[in-house]
Symmetry: C2
Subunit: 217 residues, 2 copies
């Protein structure tokens, strides 16, 4: 499948690399084609299936698109990607609205009555946004076997078929299907994004990002 | 031990009943002594160790005090309890700042840059506030054996000795010590209170409140 990955950071990098490994054609998008990190990624992966371009190039290229930009830059990225390039496509939103401008710990730039996932759905109304993978560290999301127990992965979105397709993709990363939990429509993004303050606290307690949470009964 | 429980709702009731069962003397506090639900509780428990009174009566009575009032009413309750009656005492804050005034799902009346736990600590500066038990349903918090796996219980607060004392009390409810996780100072209340939107979503998915989350690695 052709996949556009918006974002050149740790999350974009990990996902884009994994997707190429799985045989997908991946275009990494950034504000301008020729972005240093994107070019470095293409060169590092050294696979004809890896390419880079602008946000719009990546969105147009992808049959499926992943938003892995920094949360506070995500709306601008989606705007630059062009809602028309996202029309009818599944858009996996992995970002968290973490605002580091006031120092550590970051605050959420949106929460409680709204969420980044919902704002992205509004900004690209023709896209089928699925919030997923945002509650877990990049290295674990593409390699759940890295942990003895990678816990529960939460997904949400308004389109059932899109969620099924995203579940298939996530399962192809190695996530057991029974650990992928659908928490409803895109407003569930409020819930999974607002988990981030606890995630950040736990990272401090655990001494690193290699942990997860599992829903237990 | 003499314990004051502020609040006559489901959480206050469950905790007060469990504490009497464990041999503690418990005074349930409400806005005014003689509150119908409090009187009913005393009568139902039918144990000389159970009594009721005003918030101030309960706070004065307790060597340890529990805030189990509705989150949006908690600051008023602590004010009525009297900071002077809480001086030097451990105050377990179990409440969540859920505001149901706009319908379901409730929003948080405070979050992100502040928390109810911190506001209570500020309102009663001489109290040693420990946020605990707020991430789990009342019936499970006093009977973790009700679930096959009751998961991880998060506590936080500024006073190490107070947290140790609260851990002892929670362990006496049946919680394994290794499942009680200290997430730092009282600002950790932001993290555990902001988990509530996810808890509410999961309650919908699970079809009820009998679940928990476990930190896994």
């Amino acid at each position: 499948m052709r996949i556009g990955v918006l974002g050149t950071g740790m999350v974009g990098n990990a996902l884009a690399t994994k997707l190429v490994e799985l045989g997908h054609e991946v275009k990494m998008g950034s504000r301008e084609a020729g972005n240093e990190k994107a070019v470095e990624w293409v060169s590092g992966v050294s696979d004809e299936r890896a390419s880079e371009g602008s946000f719009a190039d990546a969105a147009e290229f992808g049959e499926l698109v992943v938003n892995a930009t920094a949360g506070v830059a995500s709306l601008a990225a989606v705007e630059q990607a062009g809602p028309e390039n996202l029309e009818g496509k599944v858009l996996i939103d992995v970002a968290n609205p973490l605002d580091f401008s006031g120092g550590m710990p970051p605050r959420l730039s949106v929460c409680n009555d709204d969420s980044l996932g919902e704002q992205i759905q509004e900004a690209a109304p023709g896209a089928r946004v699925v919030k997923a993978l945002n509650t877990i560290n990049a290295s674990v999301m593409v390699d759940p076997g890295k942990l003895g127990d990678a816990g529960t992965l939460f997904i949400c979105g308004n389109d059932e078929e899109a969620k099924a397709q995203v579940s298939d993709l996530i399962a192809s990363f190695g996530w057991p299907r029974e650990d992928i939990l659908d928490v409803g429509d895109i407003s569930g993004a409020r819930a999974t994004e607002m988990y981030l303050p606890l995630w950040l606290r736990l990272m401090g307690v655990e001494g690193g990002p290699n942990f997860s949470i599992r829903v237990v009964r």
